[in-house]
Amino acid sequence: MARKTAEQREAVKKMREIAKSNKAVMKKYETEKKRKNVPASEYQTTMKNPNNILEIDNLHTYFYTDMGIVRSVNGVNIEIPQGKTVALVGESGCGKSVTSLSIMKLVRGPSGQITNGEIRYNRPGGAIDIVKTPIKEMQTIRGNEISMIFQEPMTSLNPVFRIGAQIDEAIKLHRPDVKKDDVKKQTIKMLELVGIARAEGVYSCFPHELSGGMRQRVMIAMSLCCNPKMIIADEPTTALDVTIQAQVLELLRDLKDKIDASILLITHDLGVVAEMADYVVVMYAGRIVEQGTSHEVFLNPKHPYTIGLIKSKPVVNQVVDRLYSIPGSVPNPVHLPNHCYFKDRCDKADGRCNSGIPELRNIDDEHKVACHLYKEGNK
């Protein structure tokens, strides 16, 4: 008992220290954000590969909480080629959503901050680094060039505005080419495009009058209405039931082809990945553990975590006693160990695994793994 109180006292002291340092850091970033009239030169950059629409380079997004710094995204590199679909896979809490929010610069301040790295976006007028881009400039990109579909269709639509108005708003904002009188027509066209049968009726509905699947379609229509170059779909099907899931995915794929956009698909559902993605990125505890073409990763998974993920997916027509599940749970994001984060859950771990955090290594042109079990170029 006495020990506990001593420990708690320690904890209080520590929390105080954390609060103090957090405050200083957050203040620094917030003042940075508040700067006005940032010259364009500061955030202009060049793409490593001009065929990419987006390059995420060594991205770090941290949350400064009372418990310490949560390293949600901890050095992530992703390239999204033009017109392709990249799937970001991982358990919940591994940093997928934060990565996507970082791209939109929607990480909730002041506790959440992008602390390091670049997000290069291949803008028609010249590439920019989103991390350095001021919010004002971001507002012309959000919903226009890059749009996002959120995972909670039930709460992501504003309950007090009619569906039509919410889509109209985005069109009016980003598409000066559409005449005022045509906005409604355009919206209804979008609603029809996402497969809503009585689009006229839905136009004047309130969100609560629609089912979850309908709302997700509305969300998709909203994100597509300005012909974005890139769509971030954050678990677009999680909240929906299975039949709707398939429809929505189908829809997304059709639309992508229609408007020739790139997609960053965030999901924990490997089935969806197999169906949709050209490339797969597997994240674990804020880091990428494996990445490659979906073909490679699915047929030839390397990282024990990926293997585990694939194993835990139920397969039709295959009789198993028990569905596989990866033992243990994701490590505490505040106190990440200084060895491979997966070591404690890994059934292949050995002595090498204690020697620092493994780097992401090319084992193939199209395949990278971060695991001590594999060496560069070694299959």
Binding site: I135, G143, M148, F150, T155, S156, N158, P159, V160, F206
Partner: protein, 322 residues
């Protein structure tokens, strides 16, 4: 909807009966009845006269009997005659309630105009210096006794600077008419309105701030941002419209209360409204008026909650009243 309102009104009638019973019982048990007030300072009054007066004012009835008589009158639409003013209670109430209203209404509007923007401001800048300053000032307003604040205002603006009249409802010396009279009366209302406004801002501002903070955490606000809307659009259109739901609801509920007057402020500024008269009636044992005015105030409270519930259904598209 109509069914709902009708049901609520029925419940309201029952509640009002309860309220009136309690008050009648208390009034009749408490000392300080009208006749003794009238007669006690006059040594010439004889016991016979007192008895006769008691009979006349119905003070010889037992409490249940007296209540039954009163209630029967109410159901016939007759609230009785005020002892003090010797006029029908309904007539007195209907004239004084507008006076109270015209004092409370400007304050109500001002509160809305001041408190809501302040609440939004301090919510969007939570924990900033602005937030602290706004919250402190707004809360200071509701941390002062009204009579204290009123006295200080009178001292500064009436006695000291002479900008506004000390009290009263119009300049007695002048025979203003029409627009000039309205202007003159408005000038007399400035200080009381100030008191009521400042007293009310704190609560409303805080209510607004909390709701705004809650709304700002909602998913659809993130959606709005992801759409590329400017921060002001996000706050003033998307968040604000949602914050408005609870605010409109309570604001609507406050409207009936504007007629119920305020005892202390009206007294200090010599305004002949419902509250002031009710206080005089309470002090003078004017049972019909006390009953009438408390019933009126209770009914206003009930109507207020009903209005706010109905408004909730009207303003929030998600709610359907049953």
């Amino acid at each position: 909807m109509w069914q709902y309102i009708v049901r609520r009104i029925c419940i309201g009638v029952v509640v009002l009966m309860g309220v009136s019973m309690i008050i009648y019982g208390l009034i009749r048990t408490a000392p300080g009845d009208y006749v003794s007030t009238l007669t006690s300072s006059n040594p010439e009054v004889t016991q016979e006269m007192v008895d006769r007066l008691n009979e006349l004012y119905g003070l010889n009835d037992s409490i249940p009997e007296g209540y039954a008589k009163w209630a029967a009158g109410v159901f016939r639409g007759d609230l009785g005659d005020s002892f003090i003013e010797q006029k029908p209670v309904a007539e007195v109430l209907s004239s004084k309630m507008w006076i109270s209203f015209w004092m409370a209404f400007p304050a109500y509007i001002l509160q809305i105009l001041i408190a809501i923007p302040l609440g939004i401001l301090s919510a969007t800048k939570q924990y900033s210096k602005i937030d602290y300053a706004v919250t402190t000032i707004a809360l200071m307003g509701m941390s002062l006794p009204s009579f204290f604040f009123a006295a200080i205002l009178q001292r500064i603006f009436a006695q000291g600077l002479g900008w506004f009249p000390l009290s009263g409802m119009k300049t007695a010396r002048m025979d203003y008419e029409g627009f000039a009279l309205m202007l003159d009366m408005a000038k007399h209302l400035v200080l009381p309105v100030m008191v009521l406004t400042v007293l009310g801002i704190g609560g409303l501002m805080r209510y607004c701030r909390t709701n705004m903070l809650e709304v700002l955490n909602e998913d659809y606000i993130r959606t709005a941002r992801a759409k590329g809307l400017s921060e002001s659009k996000v706050v003033y259109k998307h968040a604000f419209r949602n914050t408005l739901i609870p605010i409109v609801t309570i604001l609507g509920g406050m409207i009936p209360g504007l007629f119920s007057g305020s005892m202390i402020t009206e007294g200090i500024f010599g305004i002949d409204g419902i509250g002031n008269t009710a206080l005089t009636a309470l002090r003078g044992g004017d049972i019909p008026y006390i009953m009438g005015s408390t019933l009126f105030m209770a009914a206003l409270t009930l109507v207020g909650t009903l209005v706010s519930d109905v408004l909730y259904g009207v303003v929030d598209p998600r709610v359907r009243l049953k």
